[in-house]
Amino acid sequence: MDRRLVEQAQRGDEDAFEALVRATGDRCVGIAYRILRDVDLAEDAVQTAYVSAWRDLRSLREPDRFEPWLHRTLTRACYEEARKSRRYAANIRALPTESSFAPDDVHAVVDRDQLDRGIRRLSVEQRAVLVFHHYLGLTLPEVADRLDIPIGTAKSRLHHATNAMRASLEADARSALDSQERPA
């Protein structure tokens, strides 16, 4: 990240901030989508996060840490969007189809659906830890630092989320097996 751009933006330069948005936006959309599992909610969270970041940019003491700081702001925006979406659950739209798995890979498609169901059952805080660990590839101390939570909390959330995912996958597998064995 260009430190000069951050410092210019801290002095109120909107063009510099837009350059920062262009440089970091794709990753922010990726993070928000993976936490919220909804494109519209994710875009709302990203927009909220950047406006918050702009408003509070002068409080950033280390310009070199702009992106970690931004990700923390983004995560809080995701939490807020998730809370709003729980209040207005009827407005949540269906998840669009993802494109990362080959359509002819039947097992992968099954896994993808199961994984999506499993992740949706997690709390939004647990999802955030999974995203920062598996999507951004951060270590647990780095996840804790990025999310501004104690290491023990990060570890606990990752542990619980992984266990819940495993349990969810196994429950789905059992359910699929039952339906296959059931007479037509």
């Binding site: 909107e14 901030f17 837009e18 948005v21 262009r22 936006g25 794709d26 990753r27 922010c28 959309v29 990726g30 989508y33 993976r34 494109v39 990203v46 927009q47 950047y50 406006v51 918050s52 702009w54 408003r55 509070d56 940019l57 002068r58 409080s59 003491r61 995560t75 809080r76 993802e98 494109s99 990362s100 896994d111 993808r112 199961q114 994984l115 992740i119 805080e125 999974l130 598996h134 999507y135 647990l140 101390p141 804790a144 501004d148 939570i149 104690p150 290491i151 023990g152 909390t153 570890k155 542990h159 619980h160 266990n163 819940a164 995912m165 495993r166 996958l169 196994e170 789905d172 597998a173």
Partner: protein, 412 residues
Amino acid sequence: MTRERDVDELIHTFMQGGPEELSERLLTGIRNDVHGTKQRALWRPWRTPAMPRPMIIFAALGALLVAIAAMAVVGTGGRAVPSAVPVSPSPSASSSSSASGPTVITYPLADGEAWLLVEAAHGATLIKPNAEGSHTILEDLDVAVATPRWSNDGRQVTFEGNNASGSQVWIANADGTGARQLTETPDGCPNETCTEGINPDWSPDGRSIAYVAPTHDRDSFTKMSLNVVDVATGTSRELYSTTDASLARPSWSPDGTKIVLEILHYKGKPEDTSITSSVIAVVDVTGADHTPRELTDDSLLAGYPFWHPTSDLIVFRSNRFDGDALLDPAKPSDLYTIKPDGSGLTKVTDNGVGGPIVRGPSWTPDGRILFGKLANLGADEFLRIINADGTGEASATGNLWTKGEGKWRPGT
């Protein structure tokens, strides 16, 4: 099918799929919103929002006089008395405002010299009151350092060391040298059944350390225990254990006969669901019955208790803050004190719903409360200090931003 594949690998692969592109439409929306939004001025902890300009000038002049007086004390070889007088930011303070900044202290720590011990992202940070200097210790270990606490003589520290094999209790000299792991699990975490060691607290006589021991296998917790380890031998004994709650943050009474701790209740098993409530409770260490006696009810969401260094008084905070959210956003975050028999519940702060958030209170040697404070959700955290009756709140470390709970060096 899925059982045969590693769930971590599945999640990792799954996370790589999905949108990750900032659309021009979204960029336009951000641009328009930013154009109509004014940037906030810096928040200064020594300045309250309601403080009028003449008072700010008066406060700045007062701080300047305090600084001059402090320099005079140092110049005569005297030692400045720890003070919670608010100070304005100075060039020297800002130069030491980073935990990784230049070293400004010498070792070993002088007897009677006041230091604050604060958890940091990579190690633990020693900070002088009023931010005259800071230095990170324990940063070269192969474990991440969490929840550090002083020994009662202020010469050693205990902390939990985290790595991929789990967490265990460690001890070290106060300057970070001589670090060694004190507890261990025979089978190794996280693949087999193992017992970790977290949240250590040194006993007043220095011979023992109380800690929380979560025991779990690969899939789930089997129990949470309150243990005490003998520092000389490394032998642990279990005081109390439970299978339907989580334990946290033990703190010894000054006579070493009791321990106060936090008990977290879950809706279901701890590994399946999130926390629903928390209480603080006292465990009798010396008697035959170590069952915790709860001091608070669920409604207060009490946690992070810390016993007064010389008297029967416990400070705690309401409404757990996990670093990114309050346990109940519809309730305030406040400091309280209570006697170990459950009487004398006293509210120290009055923050209100949506107001400031307090974290990790502890006592200073002279009986004031040191705590972390965020002006609001998402704001920077500062160490503050307040009298037990709620008066005299001030910054504990000048304008130095900190992250994590602070502990004042005992005896200083």
